[in-house]
Symmetry: C2
Subunit: 757 residues, 2 copies
């Protein structure tokens, strides 16, 4: 590939100046004349029958425009991610703390709150079920009368696991626990809905999938989809937590009922109480290996507590299962994943989508195996690490796996892994230093047999600048910058010449959801597909203009080049001429994830084909008196495919690692009887800048053959190795592994005590 | 072609309910917080040097945010339709009454008006030139020091005109005058400009060509085109008068300078004084014919007064010249058209674009020829009328000319032409009744060698409804309804399932201008081009679903049909499945006007290829005491190609004829030394509903081979025959032709006096 002008070069993230100067307009910053305040009444119980719901007094209050209950929904009364099981407004029962009973629209916040107060709800509390293992028992109380508590029991198998364990010379068998955690995006959920003069229902709200948002809004309001317009303003973080709808439909129902614009903004407490969380997962992981360290078999049993509504629960557990083997050669595997209903908070998409949970188990297993065999953790990973052409337990043959050992060796080198013993292990009497590593495999895209496509549109103006229409959400990950870079590269113009239009279902075709580390890959390919015919036209014109054969011409930085030499002819010159020649300089592109490889019989039907690899190595200090863990250094090496925006990619990895530190050390939502207790950012602790050590990031570029310019998605994989690397480092420091996250001071002290005892 | 479900069927114009209930949002109905009032200072002279322009006092007034002069324009200080000769803010001279000297933005209207008052302008009046014939004389004062007064002298010739006149047995030689007239759209020009948080300059304003608007705004502000966003609100009429920019750039300059939203709305007087008008044209028309009525030659000399700035002047005179022969076989022709600069109001596009002027001359010539030869006006037109396959003087061979004689005969039949003498010619002593007809040829599109393309985008949602993205302006002509019908027909869904997105340069590719009766044709083809791949996908899916061969399947009214029988399978079913199959249901279409025919050497390079025909027959009563003309009945027969929206097409014809009645009887802008005197709708008289007789409309469907479903454009042709039909009827009533429009009572009395004298 010739050297590139825009892709891989320094680029300021689009809109970043507006964000840091406070000019970016988030949903809450927008307003319309006559806009009402919407509020939602949420449940006081995690499991109860609704005996009576009386909104008459609330409706009669001054300043209250309407109070809606389930009876007032013109269309379908449910969200619809996978199954329509979660009501927008409950009918006769609440099943988790976030269930909504009524929606209020009032002239001002005080009136809206007064209306919430005035709604009378008589609950008849029901015993709930809060332990997923208990829920799985025969005869356990059912969360749903007509659905088993075990929604799905997925099995992925390859080889002969029993035989593999028989061949094993050592068997490592441990159980791991990961906590219920919160996305904690800076911007809580918010939506403005408004009936336009032509009857179109406009919804401005942060989300991750504009067209799926539109579908669900239309479905609930009983409108054709094309009469609903979803527009994304600036988005203050999402991390999967805005993938499903939040308050958009309620705002839309209130706007439809009142004919006035309505704003709903969740408080932080409402936000934490209601939206989906990262699944707490219990993983029993058995690994069989030969004395030389080679894995002969694994058996993984993962139980995910998904709360009472399915949301993305089964998909999360599917991705978890399909990644449970880690970046290792596993000849025999049996992987089981259970998606279990309880009355706990609902769980769904969160950055990593199941892989962080299973990677924690897998990587602690690898260290346990190393300890058992007296091998170095690096050695046991190199012995088992996958290579290009290897077949995974899902049946997939790896197209490009150079990143596995590449990242591992580079991280070892950067961290001084092989010479770590030169550093003091006990720098003070109460301090213990330790090193830990984790290597992971991460999937890009949504997997086989799942809709995974994107459209995009490019439109070049007569001055050679271009408009890019994409419905891919930029949720802070820099998607629009990357797509604009790909457009600029493909059209041969400068990045500043590309203008990205904010996602808007009236403007751009569906790009699917900003999930699965798929946006740069799938929407990037759609942008390339749109750019192709425009570039062809420009090159045809350039050939006609210069008299040179088209094959020697290229477009770079706004200029026509001939055999690499810049000519005076510009893209703007060509664009200006195109109109006079009735030539088309706009096109819509489309891409759907490609799976050309034959899969062997019995393969996992939803297996992915594109993978990234990453290794992180943590150096920690543990205070054995207080139990406090300090991450001294974190080395993060990431297989990024072709890097599009170097600073953006570094930021992705740093941000992911920072999130991983929170997962490792502090974050856990505490629930009692399904009601969360730490519903604020004072009591739910995410890392601050003071908790983040220097993170040494390196990006390795193993290009993906089917990607635009060889890119991959790295938004989620960067988070995944952090917690197991830290946990392995803590185990290295204190001599005993802790198999439950987070590694709080209490957990460390308890481990030390147990060790002594 | 199979019978159609949507095209040609009754359809309520999209948005019509909003218009009649006052809910439609025109530019003036929109506002933004902090919006300023913009005002423009226009010239007090039609020709003067600017000795001094001092805005310092105005700038210092309270409430005044900025006062801009030519020195404050960051980009190019000119409009750009054909040539960049009209300044946005004049530098040192004014050349017509509409020249703008300064632009003010203030907190409110009073402050803005005070600022206008406070601007000091010292003019040094210069002698202007106001008579185009005088301007053409050698040695005449020059409007421009460096440009001749005769901007262009176009000649279209075929055969041997001199020889044709030698062969002629009669020669008719008359000179005709048409007046300077005003579009008188209900909504005066208005624009709101606003700098968006991301720096994009948003301009909301009625226009006819969003992308050309964008180009000109960007050019004046020194911005890349893709950083300017032009959005069209509801538009209260345009008729060509909003084809060139009006106050958009000034509003944008003020918004850029102040950082605040700015609204400029022209008063009616400002509107009349400034925007382009219909060219007053003087036509000397010589017709040679044999005794049997056959035309042997014509010689046409047309002089158009275009004012001091070119605007569309040369194009108007080109279309005029290329249609000067009318719908008749003319073996030998010499047609000359002069575009002349004066200091009169500027002229440009107005519904008809030159053809109404020359059709007036041509059709009065035909009646004069009939009188000279003692033939019936119907006969002389039938003898000479063109037929399919005939070659026009421009070199064009007519693809489809059945409408010429079809309309003529149908109009004669409907009006009782052949039995008209059974009706009283003098129903009262002071009243004279007369009958007049006019037949015209009208061009569709912009002509060969001119950019004439459109893009459009269709996007089907998962429920089978669709979004249509078009930048074609709906200026009241019903373009969006027609395009939605074409989309619905092509996709096999109901009209209500198509949602048209308002023109917006960030949303849709260029569709060119809503001019030249081209929108339904060119954008309609673009919509068909977009619909094709979507329909193909749906039919492929339907074939797979039903097991039937694709050839027998069709989509109609939202259902799949097999050999014409409706199945239970719906388009919505297919659309819902499409996503799961990763299938694309969106596409962008493009169409560029096709001219596959070989043209003989010497052909007119800008000749059109698609034509409509129309005949109108007027019955009038003339009061010989007062001179008043009353149109008793108007029969309008229009070759419409395939009708898309019957009520809309009827409305187009009725509205056109009504406008033609104004052109015939009352409308004229009176200018003295280039300054118009009747700058209000009290003094400039357009017909009211009381002036409009019953109009009998019939649409004849001669399908155009290259058009979507055979449609043609009828927006302008419907206006064209009205004035000559009425003038011929008045001549029939009073026995003397009047060769100058309008046929005011004074003109009629003068003609009667001259006749008696």
């Amino acid at each position: 590939m010739p050297e590139m002008e825009v892709v891989g070069r320094k680029a300021n993230a689009l809109g970043s100046r507006d964000i840091v100067t406070g000019k970016a307009r988030y949903c809450r910053d927008l307003s319309f004349p006559g806009m009402l305040v919407g509020k939602l009444l949420t449940s006081q119980h995690s499991s109860a029958r609704i005996v009576r719901l009386d909104v008459s007094r609330a409706r009669a209050l001054p300043g209250v425009l309407t109070v809606l209950t389930h009876a007032d929904i013109p269309g379908e009364n449910s969200y619809l991610y996978a199954e329509p099981d979660q009501p927008l407004l409950v009918v006769d029962a609440v099943r988790y703390q976030g269930d909504v009973l009524a929606a209020v629209a009032a002239e001002d916040e005080a009136s809206a709150l007064a209306a919430l107060e005035a709604i009378r709800v008589d609950y008849e509390p029901q015993p709930g079920i809060y332990d997923p293992l208990e829920a799985m028992q025969p005869g356990a109380r059912q969360v749903w009368p007509d659905r088993p508590n075990v929604h799905s029991h997925l099995v992925i198998a390859c080889g002969d696991a029993e035989q593999g364990f028989r061949e094993a010379e050592v068997i490592i068998d441990h159980t791991y626990h990961t906590p219920l955690i919160e996305h904690a995006f800076l911007e809580t959920e918010c939506a403005i809905a408004k009936v336009e003069p032509d009857g179109t229902l406009l919804v401005i709200s942060p989300g991750q999938s504009p067209h799926r948002d539109r579908m669900q809004i239309a479905r609930a309001l009983g409108l054709p989809e094309s009469r609903v317009r979803v527009v994304y303003p600036a988005i203050g973080g999402a991390f999967g937590g805005k993938d499903e709808l939040h308050v958009q439909i309620h705002a839309a129902l209130l706007a439809q009922a009142t004919g006035r614009p309505v704003l709903i903004e969740r408080t932080r407490e409402e936000s934490i109480r209601t939206h989906v969380k990262r699944h707490p997962v219990q993983v029993r992981y058995r690994t069989g290996a030969a004395r030389d360290g080679r894995i002969t078999a694994i058996h993984v049993e993962a139980v995910g507590d998904t709360g009472p509504y399915l949301n993305a629960g089964a998909e999360v557990m599917s991705v978890l299962a399909a990644s449970a083997y880690g970046p290792y050669r596993v000849p025999n595997a049996r992987i089981e994943a259970f998606t279990v209903f309880t009355n706990n908070p609902i769980c769904g998409a969160m950055r990593g989508f199941g892989i962080p949970q299973v990677a924690f188990a897998c990587e602690l297993q690898m260290d346990a195996l190393a300890r058992e065999l007296g091998l170095d953790p690096l050695a046991v990973r190199l012995i088992n690490g996958v290579e290009t052409g290897d077949r995974l337990p899902t049946g997939v043959t790896l197209r490009q796996a150079g990143g596995m050992k590449g990242c591992l060796l580079e991280a070892a080198e950067m961290s001084g892994w092989r010479v770590r013993e030169q550093m003091e292990r006990q720098p003070a009497p109460h301090l213990r230093r330790g090193w830990g590593m984790a290597s992971i495999i991460f999937t890009v895209g949504l997997g086989r047999n799942v809709p995974d496509f994107a459209g995009a549109s490019l439109d070049m103006a007569a001055d050679g600048t271009a408009i890019l229409r994409t419905a891919a959400a930029d949720i802070g990950q820099g998607a629009h910058t990357a797509l604009a870079q790909i457009a600029a590269e493909a059209l041969g113009i400068e990045l500043a010449a590309v203008q990205v239009v904010r996602p808007d279902t009236h403007v751009a075709p569906s790009a699917g959801a900003a999930v699965g580390s798929r946006t740069t890959f799938v929407s990037g390919n759609a942008v390339l597909s749109a750019a192709g015919p425009i570039r062809d036209t420009l090159l045809d014109m350039a050939a006609a203009e210069t008299g040179l054969p088209r094959e020697v011409l290229s477009l770079r930085g706004g200029y026509v080049h001939a055999e690499g030499e810049r000519l005076s002819l510009t893209v703007a010159d060509l664009a200006a001429q195109a109109g006079w020649q009735n030539r088309r300089l706009h096109a819509e592109g489309f891409y759907t994830m490609e799976y050309p490889e034959e899969m062997p019989p019995g393969s996992y039907p939803y297996a992915h084909a594109v993978f990234t690899f990453a290794t992180q190595i943590a150096r920690v200090l543990v205070d054995v008196e207080t139990g406090e863990v300090t991450v001294e250094e974190l080395v993060a090496v990431q297989d990024a495919g072709q890097v599009v925006n170097p600073d953006g990619a570094l930021g992705q990895v740093e941000g992911g690692a920072a999130m991983g530190i929170g997962y490792a050390l502090t974050e856990e939502l505490i629930a009692e009887q399904g009601m969360t207790l730490n519903n604020s950012l004072e009591s739910y602790l995410i890392p601050t800048v003071q908790d983040i050590p220097e993170i040494q990031v390196r990006l390795l570029e193993y290009p993906e053959p089917y990607a635009p310019y060889g890119v991959k998605g790295i938004g989620e994989s960067s988070l995944t190795p952090t917690a197991p690397a830290i946990a392995n480092a803590v185990a290295d420091a204190i001599g005993v592994p802790i198999r439950r996250l987070p590694l709080t001071a209490e957990a460390v002290l308890a481990a030390l005590e147990a060790q002594e005892g």
